[in-house]
């Protein structure tokens, strides 16, 4: 079965770093992995891409041509539209065998997911080549150290994912950088039910005013365990393994996202 991880998230959230960590991890496992750099504005990254979209088109090319008409965002949208119409260029460079495993390092701009049909089209094309797609939304753990911020992170992820219609995993990155207490707090938050978290926040006027909304959000996040968040400490081999296992399971079950909205909470470690 062909598998594909779509790596998305805000600028600087750690998408490219995640890809390079997985690149090394797959190598140590002797598992084949192909990485596609889909960010036409990418600078550098520490993995060897099998496909680099900048060989096809880069934002710099576009900006040099049309500096005056387009800001950086216009340039990116132009590139992404061009890419979505030239997907065969990518296809030709993939091995595309039955056991192909692909990671796609995407640009961060939210508009590509929420306003424009571009990313959805790209995902649909991958699906049409029989890839099972799982979206990974990267969130910098520094920004979600309190329950309200964690909710904000989940909502941001949902706003991108709702239009992609794939299975999904949220990854909290840069856990290795957090001070020990913060790390513990984040891990505790991830272990408890969201509803518990929301009930636990203090009774500031803001929280009281938004109590009903917070409860509603929490109940959705609890019901759909597909939106469970996973913390990744990429200096810890075990943390990397756990995450990969979870994603592999999700991709497998994610064949039909409609049926598998609810992912079983228990992952059988022998199932590979």
């Amino acid at each position: 079965m062909k598998c594909l991880q779509l790596i998305i998230g805000p600028a600087g959230s750690g998408k490219s770093t995640y890809c390079s960590v997985m690149f090394d991890h797959f190598q140590s496992l002797h598992r084949p992995l192909e990485i596609v750099n889909l960010d036409p504005a990418a600078e550098t990254f520490n993995y060897t891409p099998s496909v680099d979209i900048r060989d096809l088109i880069s934002v710099d090319d576009v900006l040099e041509d049309e500096d005056i008409i387009m800001g950086p965002n216009g340039g990116l949208v132009f590139c992404m539209e061009y890419i979505s119409k030239n997907m065969e260029w990518i296809h030709d460079q993939l091995t595309d065998g039955d056991d192909a495993y692909v990671m796609v390092d995407c640009p961060g701009q939210i508009e590509l997911y929420s306003h424009l049909p571009i990313m959805k089209e790209i995902v649909t094309t991958f699906k049409s080549w029989d890839y099972n797609v799982c979206t990974l939304f990267m969130i910098d753990a520094h920004f979600v150290l309190e329950p309200e911020k964690l909710i904000a992170g989940a909502l941001t992820a949902l706003s991108s994912m709702i239009s992609l219609e794939t299975s999904a995993v949220n990854v909290l990155t840069k856990m290795d950088q957090l001070p020990r207490e913060s790390k513990k707090e984040v891990e505790d938050m991830l272990e408890s039910d969201c509803s518990q978290l929301v009930n636990g926040v203090n009774d500031e006027p803001w929280n009281e005013r938004h109590a009903a909304l917070s409860r509603a959000i929490a109940s959705v996040l609890d019901d759909y365990s597909m939106f469970k968040m996973v913390a990744l400490d990429n200096t810890d081999e075990e943390s990397i393994e756990d995450l990969l296992l979870m994603i592999d399971t999700t991709i497998q079950y994610g064949e039909d996202a409609e049926v598998h909205d609810r992912i079983p909470k228990e992952v059988d470690p022998n199932e590979e």
């Binding site: 600087g12 959230s13 710099d60 965002n73 941001t156 706003s159 239009s163 959705v220």
Partner: protein, 329 residues
């Protein structure tokens, strides 16, 4: 004027960033003119909206104070990030792409934000409000350390309001509408500040569809189902219930930056938010925010990457923050 007596030498900060609270050491003052942070997705019309609101206030003979935080766009305002940080230079000298350069420029500007707060506070008895335009790439502000520092530094100084500009013409499909509203809701949770949504570009598409969806959950659900070829998605349906709750407490204003429709309603909404800041935010937040700003600033200083930036600050000789009127004095 107060700001013209400020140091005119181009000092280089010794560390990243100097405490953004320096300008507001006397704590939050709910009587000062509010600062309005204008957020929205790329191309939603933030800049046009800021310009229209500015023109509207000029016409009333109560001109606002305007701050531009978008390093990529030139534009006549009172304080412009571009006077302090040269975006193109950041890009070329540090081999950064457009996104990295925006983030870095904001970080660099952040080191001087105490000065911005000082200028804004000095003006707040003579202007009705301060309007702040943000970079096109929304997450450069909403998901960055500098965006957090700037927001919290403002909120711990004086009334601060967040406006989310939504492009009505691009929200006509139920999925994009939902995506936009989820993002708006996430900003509410991130900032916890008084907040309202502006449906802009009403001259292109009347946002009455949005109002219908916001008041009638069933109707939105039907539209969503139709748009997905009649098959429904459990998650999307549950989320529309969540959003229903979000809309209950949400202020919205229909406007057009092109025709000027809705500007008085925007001003009314800002006034309501200012009151909300006084009632709900002042009592408990002042202390907490001050503590958090310090923590975030500390993290930024400790961040290895930011360590590198300290040398970038020196190499680039980041300009001082200046009020554009300074030159005319």
């Amino acid at each position: 004027m107060a700001e013209s007596t400020a140091s005119s030498s181009k000092q280089v900060p010794s560390e990243m960033p100097s405490s953004p609270l320096a300008g507001s050491s006397d704590g939050p003052n709910p009587d000062l003119a509010p600062s309005v942070i204008v957020l929205g997705m790329a191309g939603s019309g933030k800049t046009s909206f800021v310009q229209r609101l500015t023109a509207h206030l000029h016409a009333k003979k109560t001109p606002p104070y305007v701050v531009n935080l978008d390093p990529a766009v030139p534009y006549p305002v009172n304080i412009d990030i571009r006077d302090t940080v040269k975006y193109k230079q950041v890009m070329t000298e540090y081999g950064l792409g457009p996104n990295g350069a925006i983030l870095t420029s904001l970080n660099l500007f952040c080191t001087r934000f105490d000065k911005v707060i000082e200028l804004v506070r000095a003006r707040s008895s003579t202007v009705p409000l301060t309007i702040i335009d943000t970079p096109g790439q929304i997450e450069a502000f909403t998901w960055s350390a500098s965006g957090t520092i700037i927001t919290e530094a403002l909120a711990s100084s004086h009334p601060t309001v967040v406006i989310y500009v939504c492009d009505s013409a691009r929200a006509t499909s139920p999925a994009t509408f939902m995506s936009n509203m989820l993002y708006a809701c996430s900003i509410l949770y991130r900032t916890k500040l008084p907040f309202f949504v502006v449906f802009n570009k009403a001259d292109i598409v009347r946002p009455t569809f949005a109002q219908r969806w916001m008041t009638d959950f069933e109707r939105f659900d039907e539209a969503l189902e139709d748009s997905r070829g009649g098959y429904s998605n459990d998650l999307a349906r549950s989320l529309s219930l969540v959003l229903d709750e979000f809309y209950c407490g949400l202020k919205t204003v229909i406007c057009s930056a092109l025709t000027g429709e809705g500007m008085d309603e925007v001003l009314t909404a800002i006034d309501e938010c200012k009151q909300q800041y006084r009632d709900q935010y002042i009592p408990l937040y002042a202390e907490m925010r001050a503590k958090k700003v310090e923590e975030t600033a500390k993290r930024l200083r400790e961040d290895a990457k930011m360590g590198d930036l300290t040398s970038e600050v020196k190499a680039l000789d980041v300009g001082r923050v200046r009020d554009s009127d300074d030159e005319n004095e």
